[in-house]
């Protein structure tokens, strides 16, 4: 397993470089946007003296390199500055809003993998017959509309015309659940309040389905294509020649090799859901980081924008590292090539 550790360390090293790049980019964007940050922060009624004081306090009079140095050292100390929108430290906001987004994205990710892969396998195994046709048409439909369109459609169908699920929010007003993890499905269980758990779950259904539909379609189509390609490989014929049952061949012999190319894309899809969540959260009034991100962008709240982008970049990197590790786990060629090269 030491080779997996080596991959992990290498990926972490690359991630640090990426993070440095992202921080430079965010920093540069923040300085390029027109307007004096101190003036924006204090508002139009502040005196010139007040602005000058704040400029000095924010190191705005020093060189751009020095400013970047202050920015980085602040970030490393976990200080992302003050949000103008909520008048609180950005880190406090992130701690409050991130769990809601993560809960939504993780649920959507579970749906994507839990429905997309089996559908793809089913289609590949019944290639050219009716299950394949049905799945292909359905997945094409889900892939071809963006998630916010699905959000509106689902909301109209299953919350408005057919009120099966709540329209918006994360939890009914009647429940009062102590925040432990920020994941309501977990916190309600910690509180031992099962009806609150069901309520939180029913709030999750529509947003996570809307967010995951195109991912489900993508994962299913990708799995189908790669499975079919794998089915043409000689080692599948060999497995057939040795009399393994079709279900076993699908599970053990075709699925694993075919997952290797699919996983990279599925990982990217999963990370892309963070971006799509911006619009889905807006539709469902989901109090998450993405909705916070939209609000602060509209208000030109620089510190909060920088903090949000940084956190999303970080999540992206973590997901990518996990996917890479999973691929290394599935593909012995990658595991063993690192051993050989180092």
């Amino acid at each position: 397993m030491s080779s997996v550790l080596r991959i992990l360390l290498r990926r972490l090293g690359i991630s640090v470089i990426v993070l440095i790049g992202v921080s430079m980019l965010i920093f540069a964007i923040a300085r390029v946007i027109p307007g004096d940050p101190a003036r924006i922060a204090l508002g139009p009624n502040a005196s010139a003296e007040q602005v000058a004081n704040l400029r000095a306090e924010m190191h705005l009079d020093e060189s751009i390199f020095a400013q970047y140095g202050y920015f980085v050292s602040d970030v490393l100390r976990g200080d992302l500055g003050q949000s103008l929108y909520t008048n609180r430290p950005v880190t406090t906001d992130i701690v409050q809003f991130l769990p809601a987004t993560l809960e939504l994205v993780i649920f959507a990710g579970i749906l994507m993998v839990g429905l997309g892969l089996p559908l793809g396998i089913l289609a590949a195994r019944h290639r050219g017959r009716w299950p394949d046709h049905v799945i292909r048409v359905l997945t094409l439909l889900t892939v071809s509309a963006p998630s916010f369109v699905w959000a509106v459609i689902l909301m109209l169908l299953f919350a408005f015309y057919l009120p099966l699920f709540p329209v918006a929010g994360r939890l009914g007003d009647s429940f009062d659940i102590a925040t432990v993890t920020g994941f309501l499905t977990i916190d309600t269980l910690i509180a031992g309040n099962f009806s609150a758990f069901l309520d939180a779950l029913s709030h999750l259904v529509l947003p996570s389905v809307a967010l995951s539909l195109s991912g489900i379609g993508q994962a299913a189509r990708l799995t189908r294509a790669n499975m079919i390609e794998t089915y043409d490989k000689p080692y599948i014929e060999m497995a057939q020649a040795f009399g393994f049952f079709p279900s076993r061949i699908a599970k053990r012999y075709a699925f694993k090799p075919s997952m290797i190319p699919s996983l990279t894309i599925i990982g990217l899809d999963f990370a892309a859901m963070l971006g799509n969540a911006f619009l889905v959260e807006a539709v469902f009034a989901w109090p998450g980081l993405s909705r916070y991100g939209v609000a602060v962008i509209l208000r030109k709240d620089l510190n909060a924008i920088m903090g949000t982008v940084l956190i999303i970049a970080l999540t992206f990197l973590v997901v990518n590292i996990l996917v890479d590790l999973l691929i290394a786990f599935l593909n012995p060629r990658i595991r063993h090539s690192t051993r050989a090269s180092s």
Binding site: Y235, G243, P257
Partner: protein
């Protein structure tokens, strides 16, 4: 000797977009227990599909129409339920393929794949027992450090090694019939010769009957007791290897023999694409003789 494989009037056609394509026009072929039989012919003559029919794989393809009799060890493959056919594969009969490296699963270790194959015979076999038996079998095919090979993946081994692994894997369950479809054609000639020698000794030792499918007459001559020559879905000639080689009766057999390049010759031999003589009635094929 008792007949192990008895194929009578086997016909195969594929239903395609442009109607039906006939591939086999009534093949009869038999193999006695422990006998080594070669099926020789050019690409597209229909030799590989025969192996897939014996395994019962083509019968499960929707576009294929198979008729005739395929008797194996007293049972009739063509009319068997798919489940029962699958039970024979990997236990009573097994197959080795052209390209050993791509025929082994790239994501499992050799030991893992051996265990899978052995559990076809005995599902309750422990991994340790599988490994011990695999090492025994790998030693038989002259693989050095067999215990280390078990932990390797196919891509870490050479083509020749993988070929030996595949032969060992195909024989580990003591099948009565081994189907070899152009074994080692993907390997270079000297490695191919070594592994075929090895395979020859092994099947002789275990008393395994072999249907050896090849286009390479030189290899066939070394390996087989009896030869069937197939051309365009018909058996054109059949007989003991020595007599077919010394006195080829059919025009196509002679053309096939002329097609073998010789080092001392003047370049590649000239072989006509099609000749009326190739399609002439089967001169020595006695249908139905077992």
């Amino acid at each position: 000797m008792s007949t192990l494989l008895d194929i009578q009037d086997l016909r195969l056609s594929f239903k395609g977009l442009r109607g039906i394509t006939d591939v086999l026009h009534g093949i009869s072929l038999s193999i006695a227990a422990g006998e080594r039989v070669a099926l020789v012919g050019e690409s597209g003559s229909g030799k590989s599909v025969i192996a897939r029919i014996v395994l019962g794989l083509l019968q499960e393809t929707r576009s294929a129409r198979v008729s005739g009799k395929v008797g194996f060890d007293g049972a009739e493959i063509n009319t068997m339920r798919p489940r029962d056919r699958a039970k024979l594969r990997g236990t009573e009969m097994s197959m080795i393929f052209q390209d050993p490296t791509s025929s082994l699963n790239p994501t499992f270790t050799i030991g893992n794949q051996f265990a899978e194959v052995m559990r076809r015979r005995d599902p309750k076999l422990s991994r340790a027992a599988c490994d011990a038996r695999a090492i025994e079998m790998l030693t038989e095919v002259s693989i050095p450090n067999p215990d280390r090979i078990l932990e390797n993946y196919p891509f870490q081994l050479s083509g020749g090694m993988n070929q030996r692994v595949m032969i060992a894997m195909a024989l580990v369950n003591h099948p009565k019939l081994l189907l070899a479809d152009e074994p080692g054609t993907a390997l270079d000639v000297s490695v191919q010769a070594q592994t075929l020698r090895l395979m020859h000794d092994l099947v002789e030792k275990h008393g395994t009957a072999v249907l050896f499918i090849s286009h390479n007459l030189g290899v066939v001559r070394e390996f087989a007791d009896r030869v069937y020559v197939i051309y365009r879905g018909n058996i054109v000639e059949e007989g003991p290897t020595a007599s077919v080689f010394h006195n080829p009766g059919h025009a196509y057999t002679r053309a096939l023999m002329d097609a073998v390049p010789r080092i001392t010759g003047a370049g590649l031999p000239e072989v006509p694409e099609v000749s009326d003589a190739f399609l002439a009635p089967m001169v020595r094929h006695d249908r139905g003789a077992a």
